[in-house]
Amino acid sequence: MIKKLFQGLARARQRLGDRLRRIITRRDPQLLEEIEEVLYEGDLGVELTENILEELRKIPPEKYMDRIKEILISILEGVEVKEKEGKPRVWMFVGVNGVGKTTTIGKIGKMLRKEGKRVLFAACDTYRTGAQEQLKIWAERVGADIVLSQYGADPGAVAFDAYEAALHRGMDELLIDTAGRLHTKHPLMEEMKKIKRVLSKKNPDAPHEIVLVVDGTTGQNALNQAKSFHEALGLSGIVLTKLDGTAKGGIVVHVVKEIGVPVRYIGVGEGEDDLIPFNPEEFVKALLG
């Protein structure tokens, strides 16, 4: 698992970590400015970067590296993961378009299948063309059942049917794919709330997980996305995707700090198994080297 994360973040780590170490051992007056650059290029954002720099100004340069790690890890570890039991356990996946929601569901489905769970997918994205087919392909690939629907159908009704199906077929896990659209679209949020309501009526604990999928290449806008979805739905976790490239996903630290929701998994590739549980220490280590 660690290996994969390291592979995935190898490029990021090399650039950030090596540069930081080089910068720090050199002890030149431009030190803080260069650290600032590294932090910004990791997408940590203005606020967090400025906070970190302020902290660093109080300590000698040889402690910089540890302090940066410490600050980032403490933010990421500062939120608790609360898992809820249920049968079926209902997961609702939300996020803006193009972040990799459907793929993430496929991967989490695979993971749950490996644990021997019976998994049902629900294709509640009745908006984007191709969404139904895409999830269906994933269901076949990982051996999950699926409830499909028509384009334009009411996602709440699909969620309702899917829950019934999960119950009757004795499923352990129900993974719900939702329409990805920009978080600024008011109707989208209403639609999400309705899906949640429908499920809560079936079981007060459901959805047991409401997971926001965030594209690791996203910049500061990830914060707006997280805030909007959290405000509307109350998130239980975050999945950060596309971390196998050059993007560093640093914005997630700010997101966690701001909304207090833990990162649960990270996506590190396009394969079925390219999803790993999030570990703050490893993430930061891999990021900074």
Binding site: E36, Y40, E41, G130, I137, G219, N221, E270
Partner: protein, 432 residues
């Protein structure tokens, strides 16, 4: 709901003061604020540094124009510089028939949607485009393009082959035979750039003798945008950029980075979910968005067309006297609505996304219903609305007490803001 706007106005007035020439201190101070704004907008750190340096040199010593504060003067210089760097809209090169256009980009950037939008735009200009799903890898990529295209009656090359290069070649021959004059290739995206993808893109590029090789970039992209742009530019060589997802609240600083790195023009921007939501690129609009100023110029222009002078005058008067009633509130929402597609318009305002909830038809109807269910007295003096009145209003308007409460709370906020304006705390800088 007004926090964003308030903050901005507050910061804006901190700089009011002396006139004369811009001193190095003025410039430094003003630019520090702009530096942060650019970084918040996801402009690449190095690009920001370079940009700030450039402006610093130009701005120092410049005469502060009449009716401008030093801060405004700096902002003006920055704004103009940004526009200059962002470059002008350039039309597509369509040199022959059929004219091949290749779309490149990472997965999730919006290539497929953009392909159909582009086809739509070209058809409006009298062209007859063919769409080619050259992404043979992603599950359901073919279906997505086929179904989306079918919605608008666009022909799609529907032969399915495992080899994207061969497929592209065949599609092009068919286009020649069937006399399509533009062929749009929707190529495979990857989660990130890899050799396989680049190789495939290169082969398609060499096979189809393209007119345009357009890179599709998600406006929400962070610092990674420079890496993406550089790789595509160096390894495939693009001719232009399409920026997508500008209908959200992303500031779109990635555009500046991409433009700086590639030197290629931004050709179009995606501004909505509908097929017609692909627009020509206007540097002024993007520049003010990146700076977080809202697009004041466009707003003024649109407002002038639609808002009735009388209404504007009365509204402003009432705002200044802090006497706005719920009736005015409603009327104002209606007026703004008359100015055009409200979602678009509202986003142009500073702090616009906070208003965007009113842009929704349903929301507006709800607001209207609630206010209509009030007695004239209640509308003029909402303070008298107690629990039982709220229940009656909710029943009458088919809403809930929570809805009524929410409206009243928001109204209170507006009133509060107006009172602050009245005290002269915030200058009114554009005709609301």
């Amino acid at each position: 709901m007004f926090e964003g706007l308030t903050e901005k106005l507050e910061r804006a007035i901190n700089f009011f003061g002396k006139k004369g020439r811009l001193t190095p201190k003025d410039v430094k101070q003003g630019l520090e604020e702009i530096r942060k704004a650019l970084l918040e907008a996801d402009v690449n750190y190095k690009v920001v540094r370079e940009f700030i340096k450039m402006v610093e040199e130009e701005a120092t010593g410049e005469r502060v124009l009449k009716s401008f504060t030093p801060r405004e003067q700096i902002l003006k210089i920055v704004y103009e510089k940004l526009i200059e760097i962002l470059g002008k809209h350039e039309p597509l090169k369509l040199s022959r028939s059929p004219s091949p256009i290749i779309l490149l980009g990472l997965q999730g950037s919006g290539k497929t949607t953009t392909a159909v939008k582009l086809a739509y735009l070209l058809r409006k200009k009298g062209k007859n485009p063919l769409l080619v799903p050259a992404d043979v890898k992603r599950p359901a990529a073919f279906e997505q393009l086929r179904d989306l295209a079918a919605r608008y009656d666009f022909p799609v090359y529907d032969k399915r082959l495992p080899d994207a290069v061969k497929l592209s070649k065949l599609a092009l021959s068919m286009a020649v035979l069937k006399r399509y004059d533009v062929v749009i290739f929707d190529t495979a995206g990857r989660l990130h750039i890899d050799e396989e993808m680049i190789e495939e893109a290169r082969k398609i590029r060499d096979t189809v003798n393209y007119d345009e090789l357009l890179l599709v970039v998600d406006a929400m992209t962070g610092q990674d945008a420079v890496n993406v742009a550089r790789e595509f530019q160096e390894k495939v060589g693009i001719t232009g950029v399409i920026l997508t997802k500008l209908d959200g609240d992303a500031r779109g600083g990635a555009a500046l980075s991409v433009r700086r790195i590639t030197g290629k023009p931004i050709k179009y921007i995606g501004v909505g979910e509908k097929v017609e939501d692909l627009e020509e690129f206007h540097p002024e609009r993007l520049a003010s968005r990146i700076l977080g100023m809202g697009d004041l110029a466009t707003l003024r222009e649109k407002a002038k067309e639609a808002i009735e002078a009388e209404h504007a005058r009365r509204f402003q008067e009432k705002m200044l006297r802090a006497e706005l009633t719920l009736e005015d509130f409603l009327e104002h929402i209606k007026q703004i609505k008359r100015m055009g597609p409200i979602e678009e318009l509202i986003k142009l305002l500073p702090g616009g996304k906070e208003f965007a909830r009113y842009a929704d038809e349903k929301m507006l109807k709800k607001t209207e219903a609630i206010i209509n269910s009030m007695t004239p007295e209640e509308r003029r003096n909402p303070k008298i609305i107690d629990g039982s009145r709220k229940r009656r209003i909710a029943r009458g308007s088919g809403t809930t007490v929570q809805d009524v409460n929410q409206l009243l709370r928001e109204y209170e906020l507006v009133v509060k803001l107006m009172k602050e304006m009245k005290k002269g705390k915030f200058p009114l800088r554009f005709p609301i």
